[in-house]
Symmetry: C2
Subunit: 114 residues, 2 copies
């Protein structure tokens, strides 16, 4: 795996490891929200929420734009996609390995002698 891919995985999975950050993602899948709204949802300070948002943006799980004095946040599927891709690669690689192993075993039972 390339180094920048590994770093991306690091950022994304670290971001997803926190329940409050996942709650932000779940909320944003149902539509945009402001920083204050997210803070109220989580039950933490606005300052704390901003820190979570920085992590989420660095991992491309959330985008946001500020108009006037209010910042509106929305989902960025890039992070979700890259995490999903990482997991799918591991899982399918494993399953294909099992298939190949199964094929080898089948051959062995059909042709016991070499």
């Amino acid at each position: 795996m390339l180094k920048h891919e590994a770093e991306a995985a690091d950022r994304v999975f670290h971001a997803l490891a926190d329940a409050n950050r996942r709650a932000v993602i779940e909320r944003l899948t149902r539509g945009p929200a402001t920083v204050s709204e997210l803070a109220a949802l989580l039950g933490v300070t606005v300052a704390g929420t901003v820190q979570h948002l920085r992590v989420l943006q660095d991992s491309e799980l959330v985008r946001s734009e500020k108009v006037g004095r209010v910042r509106t946040c929305r989902i960025d599927t890039a992070g979700l996609r890259s995490a999903e891709a990482w997991l799918r690669r591991r899982r399918t690689e494993w399953e294909h390995r099992l298939d190949r192993l199964g094929a080898v075993l089948d051959d062995q039972t059909k042709e016991p002698g070499s």
Copy 2:
């Protein structure tokens, strides 16, 4: 979401947040390995490796069995599947929301008056 699902997500994403634990997973997708082999791969103590393995097993990302004095570890796809499912749910929910929003906007442009 059910509570035990949330706890499972917590465990799995926390497990995946560590680069060494992901390295273990990547290694095990290519076949089983012993604790010592994984320790050598990571470049950390066997004791430290055991701690990682506990986390990975609690999140159903790895299974292991001990025969004699050697413990053999292999992938458990249950954890991978549940993490993948969580991400896919968020992403598709968001994409469907965008579709519905697009449909509404199309209707509005077709029928400007109400």
